[in-house]
Point group: C3
Chain length 173, copies 3
């Protein structure tokens, strides 16, 4: 079962993802794409971490999601990726020598492989005013395309607002 959870900032999307992961009864590998590069991020990361079960294996992987998914899905884990928005930002800009197209293609290939349990969490960022600046528009466009691509290979797509799920594809238990 593959699930894509979309929502705005502080919409409750991570909490829903974590609940679905717990309820699955499977061993969970939690893949954080965030890195504690400044104090504000460190607080956000700590806030999220305190909520997660201690039995989960937690990994920080800002870039190589395709490889990470293949490894841990093949071992029979449910892999929870939180969140794709930061991965996209990392892959597009924050690293020298990163080949976005290759990382992107590898993520989509890994997500599209049959079977496996994955929950993707991502921010919906395209419903505000079109931002000034070519770089920001690129980010919004790539996020939209990524969500469409992943939604097409996921069994379930849920939009979360005010902590409440709205099912766009599939069903919730």
């Amino acid at each position: 079962m593959k699930t894509l959870i979309l929502g705005g900032a502080r919409s409750g999307k991570s909490a829903l993802a974590e609940k679905l992961a717990i309820d699955s009864g499977k061993p969970v590998v939690y893949v954080a794409t965030a890195e504690a590069l400044d104090d504000e991020m460190a607080v956000r990361i700590a806030h999220h971490r305190a909520r997660r079960p201690s039995t989960w294996l937690s990994i920080e992987e800002p870039l190589a999601l395709g490889t990470t998914l293949r490894t841990h899905v093949a071992a029979g884990n449910l892999v929870l990726v939180d969140c794709l928005t930061l991965w996209l930002s990392n892959a597009l800009w924050m690293r020298e020598g990163i080949h976005f197209d290759a990382e992107h293609a590898d993520l989509l290939a890994a997500a599209g492989e049959p079977g496996g349990d994955i929950i993707f969490v991502s921010n919906e960022v395209g419903l505000g005013i079109t931002p000034l600046g070519e770089i920001t528009r690129r980010f919004v466009d790539e996020a939209g395309r990524l969500h469409q691509s992943l939604a097409s290979v996921c069994d379930r797509v849920v939009f979360v607002a005010a902590g409440l799920p709205l099912v766009l594809k599939g069903t919730l238990p």
Copy 2:
């Protein structure tokens, strides 16, 4: 019956709130959190006011929503708060000496008391690109958390787009 109505700018959320208030048949206390601090706000306030029944009691209360709710709900009124987004902005920044945490806790406590008829209107602001600036991110985060907290104590949560309601929790008549 407690209702939270979320939506974007000019989405029709206030009109829906006012329709639900009228259809309830109860005496209505309308709590405006906006103050006419400049011409643009004065025009917006007048536009909203012209639409409301003259029998409603209208109050301007930019900050002390908890106290206001307790007083008027206990008297048997339906209290319509429009909107929480401005209250949040007022409580976070626009007043000296305001203790946001206390006002916030008092609002949630009043909203969580059993019984009572309340309709909250609030802007969904978290579905665009993450804004630059720590202050704006704080606002988006607090808005998201507030919506989650209120949604959990409301009987009904409705998202409005293009004047059309999308029920996230409960049912519409």
Copy 3:
């Protein structure tokens, strides 16, 4: 049948509109409101155009949508307008001597005429943080009002996220 399709950037709203147009079996007039004023727009326009059937009549009409709709709807075509957001931007600011109120009223009048097959595509832009600047707020407000007005005369309103439709009014085939 009149349809309004709303969604964020790269949400799949144009693809849904084009699928509905093809599935209608009617002759299609495609009205592009975009003009290739810079390289970025030229790439976007070319990307959209490559996807459309060659049998469609394509028109570039940045402003006079009311007149365009009347002409081609009366001739028995399904008219697909993509997108209203750019039209709004054009009508509000990009042209000297444009009377926004008149163009706006004419669009609503043409859309409200009984019968006819029209699909409108528009960006939802009001779900992010309220932008700084009176001009941007005006744009967001006018977009919200336009969506409400058109939604009230359309038989079907669909919100698209991650390529997945969420029906707000009417039904999808």
